[in-house]
């Protein structure tokens, strides 16, 4: 992942496995979000009446399996990358607080003067990734209770699972909208789309937006600079 392509002006940011995992996740997540909204939102519930509901609920299970497969793929085929990302999203410090203070000016006005140097994931990316991991665990656990637990778990546990599943789904859907917006629509974020599709970013971009990570990769050069 931190491979340097010799003599190139590009840095590899995401490995093949990481990109594959991302897009498999994307497919599963979209399926889950759409079929979940059918059951959740009363105006859409008319679409999942009777056998249409069987199809939609089966789709929701396939979505869960796809997302689960993505997680397994990551752990088994790129364990180093997986644990490194986990370590990064659970590491929080003063720099994240500074980022949060400077972020509104950056995201609204493109003013990056107050932005502290960031690691491979910036604070915002860490917030999204961490939220995804936590809500995914909650959604998976409560989802399994509702899938396989009917009759064998206590009704109280089942009812709490429905509630937690709904809450976690709302949180991650809101975050997903932000994620999608930043990736596709925000005028300052265009290169991120290249990183997740093709895996690499321009060296200058990394130096500029992920300065701490760049320093880690090229310690001497940055000292010289």
């Amino acid at each position: 992942m931190n491979k340097k392509i010799k003599g190139s002006q590009f840095l590899v940011i995401f490995s093949f496995v990481q990109r594959l995992v991302h897009w498999v996740n994307f497919i599963g997540f979209m399926l889950l979000m759409i079929t979940g909204a059918f059951l959740f939102a009363p105006p859409l519930q008319g679409l999942v009446v009777g056998p249409a509901g069987w199809l939609s609920r089966a789709g929701h299970r396939w979505g869960a399996i796809i997302v689960g497969v993505a997680a397994v793929l990551y752990v088994f085929f790129d364990p180093k990358g997986f644990w490194r990302s986990m370590k990064e999203i659970f590491t929080w410090g003063e720099i994240d607080w500074k980022w949060a203070q400077a972020a509104p000016r950056y995201y609204f006005y493109g003013d990056e003067s107050g932005m502290p140097p960031q690691g491979r994931f910036n604070t915002g990316q860490k917030i999204f990734y961490l939220t995804y991991v936590i809500t995914l665990i909650i959604l998976g656990a409560t989802g399994l209770v509702m899938w396989l637990g009917k009759g064998s778990v206590s009704p109280t546990l089942f009812q709490w699972s429905v509630l937690l599943h709904d809450l976690a789904a709302i949180v991650i859907t809101a975050f997903f909208l932000v994620h999608l917006y930043l990736a596709m629509a925000h005028p300052a974020m265009r290169p991120a789309m290249d990183a997740i599709r093709f895996g690499f970013l321009p060296k200058d971009y990394v130096k500029h937006h992920h300065a701490r990570y760049y320093e880690k990769l090229f310690p001497q050069k940055s000292k010289e600079a």
Partner: protein
């Protein structure tokens, strides 16, 4: 006029005519553990002083029915005569009704565990028969008068009279169950003992979660709506500002040349 049934276990002989007639009337799937109504035995005491109590277990047709409120497809609804109808053609098998019912009555027939293909079963109150002016099939089948069908008001009076008769014969615990429970059940019971003795909850409560779920829906709309609006505002402002800045940078570059 609200309809109801009055169940009197003290008159029951456990003949099972009600559950047999019910299966026939309502085309209940055969060979599966599905019952719209079922006779249940409750034993108490130690040998040789053992007593059995029989009770007909089926949907109690609550006024405050959690199943109706949690059903996402409105397959469950209240009939104008007060009882709860399940329209199986609308049921998508989510099984919430079976898990939110304070009496744990609706049965989920799972056809496929993986895909979740399933449908719910519960007492239909013989809606077709009742609509044509007949009594429910279990009431019609009962040879001992342990199940009476009729107007709810009349049955309450009849049940209270029966309770008094039982009390005068020494059943001090005798009482009418279902008059006030959950906004009023449309199945009333004349019980000689505490409800727990028959496997009925002493104080059935409407579960807390369905109301929270309604609030969560509002919260969900608000949160997602606010997110979309916030992102839209950000897009408009950021696009203008960042474009202006880029334009300024370009012009600066030109002037340096």
């Amino acid at each position: 006029m609200a309809k109801a049934m009055l169940i009197d276990p003290s008159m029951c002989f456990f003949c099972n005519a009600c559950s047999v007639e019910c299966k026939q009337q309502n085309s209940v799937p055969i060979g599966k553990n599905v019952f719209l109504t079922q006779m249940v035995i409750h034993e108490a005491g130690k040998f040789p002083k053992v007593k059995q109590r029989f009770i007909k277990r089926a949907c109690n047709h609550c006024t405050d029915a959690a199943c109706v409120d949690v059903c996402p497809t409105r397959a469950l609804y209240h009939h104008k005569d007060g009882y709860v109808v399940l329209d199986q053609s609308r049921c998508n098998g989510c099984g919430y009704c079976s898990q939110f019912c304070p009496f744990q009555i609706p049965q989920l027939e799972i056809m496929d565990t993986f895909s979740g293909t399933a449908r719910s079963h519960k007492c239909t109150f013989c809606a077709e028969r009742v609509g044509q002016g007949y009594e429910t099939s279990c009431a019609a089948a009962c040879p001992f008068g342990a199940i009476t069908f009729g107007d709810r008001e009349k049955l309450i009076a009849q049940g209270q009279a029966r309770v008094k008769a039982l009390q005068s014969r020494g059943a001090t615990e005798a009482h009418l169950y279902g008059e006030k429970e959950l906004g009023g059940l449309h199945v009333l019971y004349v019980l000689e003992q505490r409800p727990g003795y028959y496997g009925l909850p002493e104080n059935p409560r409407y579960p807390a979660i369905p109301k929270v779920l309604d609030a969560v829906k509002v919260l969900g709309y608000a949160a997602l709506g606010a997110t979309v609006v916030g992102l839209g505002v950000n897009w408009v402002i950021a696009r203008r500002n960042i474009r202006a800045e880029e334009g300024a940078e370009k012009e600066e570059g030109k002037s340096h040349e």
